[in-house]
Symmetry: C3
């Protein structure tokens, strides 16, 4: 099987599309785009938007990726293998992301941010510029990561989200916040400042109410966090094996 | 008048489209889709998306429906007559919905949920999997119904929203919550647990502050709730007649 | 250079498009649309939607505008020069807006509202009908301006947002609120009632915690607000000159 490009799509001769790829109907792919092998791009996407100043900055999508329909990617970003998006995501320039990133439907990455490996953004997540996200982070629907400490101002101070953090639905993270490794942000929480590792923060304004290890499953009393103890769905075998060795009793 | 399909649209020969329908420009309709009579589908829609495991599960849209432009429906859901959507809604597989459902612009139904008759979802509402919504429910903009009690986990515990409930803007409903018939959730409320019938819940965390019948119109002192006392716009005559008989003084 | 219309776009013969304009791929422009000179309309837009009752109400887009891809405008609204939108905005009928309006990606204007000059709406802002927004207002992501005091009801009481107000991320403004000139609404605030000029309101429910002039830049101790003291990016020279004269020490 070779690459299939729908006849209604508009693909630049200067785009570099790998083997065994698929491009859907009514999709536009511009110059200076590199799409890795075995990647599927849905219908109604715009891949490689340039607003005149990005022309020498490629957009690179790693192999084995899936970009669902209606999604928009600007030039000037780079994604590792196995990117998966929902529908109608918007990704501005200057994103540097690792492997296995998931971006949910309608999520909006404002660009100029770094994202580690196997990060999962659910639907309608908003990532401000200058955000720094580690590895294995989860961000749930309608979470906003902000960056302007004095809106509106010219200052931009991004948030730092460390490895294994989970941020629940509808939370807002204020500029310059640092959420420590493994911390849990409860739903509808307003986070400001530094949150210690493996701690729970909830409320408005957010308060640290204790360590995550006090949260237990009802069924067996085992700790819920770190979530990598028990939640392995969709991660590569070589990663989940490390987690299983780290927590042999799950 | 017979069915009009815009020449730029891509409609499967295996789709079953009723009489007097209209399909807009640049719209895609896949196999195994059934569209009822007198239905209009706007431009830029994708109707009947299959990601490889849904092929034998039809998408059924009842007659007299209106799907506005840019909307996405997966295979494997069923909607009664009179469905109306805003623009760019996303509807995943496994939705079983009654008559007269309204889905506002940008709303995101994650699938695998049940929805009764004459439910109205305003703009940008997010419905998690396993949600169970009754009849005549109203959900206002930016409300999220969640389902994961320990994010991220494999457990999914949907919310139950009973008949005539109204959930105001920007509220988050935590997994497993049950909102009793006729209850009112105030704007920006975080709901957890069971909310009694005909009660008002507000705040973060949400607290029940009394029965809905203490809310009165300023103009005449009559009770505002149950809202079916006075609000009848857009419901069928046979339904509003029942409501008028139930509340003869409005 | 004359106007360039992409061959895949569908432009009504009855649309009136100015000189040196550009219309992207797969875009639809209907009857009774007036587009000013030097305006660019991206791909996948629907400009001039009519649902049968707007046919004699034109949509007017001022010159020097930029409508990014996937945006939807109904007939029956008017925008001054220099409109700029993000991607996939939705603008219903009855919007009367001044010059230099910015509407961020995914924002949703429900129509029947007035907006002054140089208003900036960031991503995913929701403006209910009957809203009245002054000049030089900033509204940040995921803010909702509501209008129904007794949801659901037939009453609609819009919010009034006066000149120079800044409303931070994820706030909800309740029906009939009046936010005074120069006030600052903190992130995740629920506003009800009248907020005095140049005051700060934060929290849930929102409380006025003092005047904005108590907020100072760390670097030099100068007041942050009114923000026009120091923030001038993207405003016309004749406006920023007035601000510089008003605050000669920045």
């Amino acid at each position: 099987m070779s690459t299939q490009i729908h006849p209604t799509s508009i693909v630049s001769k200067h785009a570099n599309i790998g083997i065994n790829c698929k491009v859907g109907a009514f999709t536009s792919i511009g110059d200076n785009v590199e799409i890795g092998d075995e990647t599927e791009i849905g219908s109604y996407c715009e891949i490689g938007i340039d607003f005149g100043i990005l022309e020498d900055k490629p957009l690179t999508i790693g192999p084995d990726s899936l970009i669902r329909s209606g999604s928009i990617f600007y030039l000037g970003s780079k994604f590792g293998k196995g990117l998966r998006t929902g529908h109608r995501v918007t990704v501005r320039e200057g994103v540097l992301a690792g492997e296995g990133l998931q971006i949910g439907t309608l999520s909006d990455l404002q660009g100029h941010c770094t994202i580690g490996d196997y990060v999962r953004l659910h639907s309608n997540v908003h990532i401000g510029q200058k955000t720094d996200i580690g590895n294995f982070v989860w961000i749930f629907p309608y979470v906003v990561l902000t960056n302007d400490p004095h809106p509106p101002s010219g200052e931009l101070i991004g948030c730092k989200i460390e490895d294994y953090v989970a941020i629940a639905t509808m939370s807002t993270i204020l500029p310059g916040s640092v959420i420590g490794r493994g911390a849990l942000v409860g739903a509808m929480t307003l986070v400001r400042g530094s949150i210690p590792e493996d701690s729970i923060v909830i409320g408005m304004p957010g308060k640290v109410i204790g360590p995550t290890d006090k949260i237990r499953f009802k069924k067996d009393g085992k700790p819920v966090y770190p979530w990598r103890r028990h939640f392995h769905r969709g991660y590569p075998e070589e990663i989940t094996q490390v987690w299983k060795n780290e927590f042999p009793d799950g």
